[in-house]
Amino acid sequence: MKDRTLTRRIVADRIFQVVVVFLSFCSILPMFFILFFISKNGISSISWNFLTRLPAPVGETGGGIANAIVGSALLILLASVVAVPLGILTGIYLAEYRKDKFSYLSRLSVEILMGTPSIVIGIIAYVWVVKPIGSFSALSGGVALGIMMLPVIVMSTEETLKLMPDSLKEASLALGVSYPRTIMKVILPAGLSGIVTGMLLSVARIAGETAPLLFTAFGSPFMAANVFKPVSSLPLTVFNYATSPYPEWHALAWGASFVLLVFVLALNLIAKLGMRKWKVQF
């Protein structure tokens, strides 16, 4: 009797292990499917023309995604201007005032903002920027993406600064260096690598965002020239062309997807390497 129960238990254990490994393996399959699909269909579109030309009108071939690439770059720049200074200062606050009663509320707000749907943020940018200006604009897109970048920068700055040993601060203060200078010239530079890694992650997060741009940056077939006018971006291009009925535009979508995917994955990998090297974890 005992033997049979024991055998049953061991068999159950083995089966369970196999099932766990199998299901885990299945869960990571999509990555390879996606990489395969996008690469297979997208690589053929990649050419110097593709990267430097504007999209061609319907029916013509040989269009490109230059406006999308420049547009994305512009949006990321605008978003960074909005998010980086405020994000770093907030991160400093959370790291320096850890035991403050208010910092709990502040940190909770950051986490809530992190989990807010991107389309809601797009609507807010519409209400705050598009309505007053009267037209879609790169500026409103930058504001939307900046709001999405903010929590990532805050959390990565806070985590990095929390790792800084107290002895660093004490050494500086004991030399008669003021508190603001100690933070800005000693602590912050010492944590620069962690903060930069956080910025890379935040750029990776917003580079692929489409929903907040649907009614802010809106998209445009032209090269970005004016922050008060609509602007294109890589994910918008993918969305618009993928859902269009024209096969030439589908090809553009594949190519744009490939560029976008490679960019986002590369940023993520570099950031992970940075995190592993400097042993930060956010």
């Binding site: 490994v21 869960s27 405020l86 807010t116 809601v120 209400v127 508190y179 603001p180 994955l265």
Partner: protein, 314 residues
């Protein structure tokens, strides 16, 4: 070596005397700097409150005009100015819950794989890296891939079953949503399972339990609330997901009748119709949907954080 001790060269003396009293005028004082930090600390809270009130204000017109019919009405027809959002509430809930159920089937095993069987080592880093990369893939790319991967399969199934072969619909979007939230809930689950104290696991093993039994009887019960919080947070994530769902859900404003029906979620109808919305009530109704999304996801996030903070050691 120490002859110079006690003897200063004149310029040095000057510089060192100056160093004692030098207070460069343009430097920020400590008080001002600390005030700036406080302001930054408040800023995110203020931002959230501002978002809430802006959404509320912009939703007023439709709230006043429609009242509760907004949530109970089954017809969403901008042409006749009917704005009943029930189809979208149903679409959102059904796709999210379906996605959640499908994803748990996969994310729980990965959490156990990474949190128990393979906490370190090459297999573990590889799987962890792939999961983290999956979490970083943009939503629009998931949608694009889904169009060419899931849709043909579902169309085939629909034809076999004799149902209208749209391909797009609730099933398609639930599937892509499931794939998208697996990395998120897997990471959360792994952290929670990792936190189970070693001595509990070792105690069970030393009593002769198999690893399956340790998982069933020690780890899962201990990590129960953490796993629940992870599921809750994944739900929050699923509710707000827009692009992939928009591309695969079929954009129909009718109340879905089956798993194969095209439909719309709150997020996807906003994505599809916002730029063409004319008329104050129309726009305001869409914004009201955004308000609803914001409130629900905020509440879910708060509850999830509270549960996690109660169970974690930090």
């Amino acid at each position: 070596m120490l002859e110079s001790a006690g003897q200063m060269i004149e310029p040095l003396e000057r510089a060192q005397a100056e160093s004692v009293h030098h207070r460069p005028g343009f430097t920020l004082s400590e008080g001002a700097f600390r005030k700036i930090l406080y302001l930054a600390g408040i800023s995110v809270l203020v931002l959230l409150i501002a978002i809430f009130f802006s959404l509320l204000l912009a939703s007023m017109p439709s709230m006043k005009a429609l009242g509760i019919r907004f949530l109970t009405g089954r017809t969403w027809d901008p042409v006749t100015s009917h704005f009943g959002a029930l189809p979208f509430l149903v679409g959102t809930l059904v796709t999210s819950f379906l996605a959640l159920c499908i994803s748990i089937l996969f994310s729980l095993p990965i959490s156990i794989f990474l949190g128990y069987y393979h906490r370190e080592g090459k297999a573990s880093s590889f799987v962890k890296t792939v999961i983290e990369l999956l979490a970083g893939v943009p939503s629009v790319i998931y949608g694009f891939w889904g169009l060419f991967f899931f849709i043909p399969i579902i169309r085939f199934v629909e034809t076999e079953l004799g149902v209208a072969p749209y391909g797009v619909g609730i099933l398609a979007s639930s599937l892509i949503l499931a794939v998208m939230i697996i990395p998120y809930s897997a990471s959360l689950g792994r952290e929670v399972i990792n936190l189970v104290p070693n001595d509990l696991k070792e105690a069970a093993l030393s009593l002769g339990a198999t690893r399956f039994e340790v998982i069933r009887k020690v780890i899962l019960p201990y990590a129960r609330s953490g796993i629940f919080a992870g599921i809750l947070l994944s739900l929050g994530r699923a509710l707000g997901e827009t692009m992939a769902v928009t591309m695969l859900i079929g954009n129909s404003n009718f109340l879905p009748t089956s798993i194969f029906s095209p439909a719309n979620t709150m997020a996807s109808v906003i994505a599809n119709e916002f730029t063409e919305a004319t008329g104050a009530i129309y726009l305001s109704s869409l914004i009201q949907l955004a308000l609803l999304l914001f409130v629900v996801t905020t509440v879910i996030n708060i509850i999830g954080k509270i549960i996690i903070s109660r169970t974690s050691v930090t």
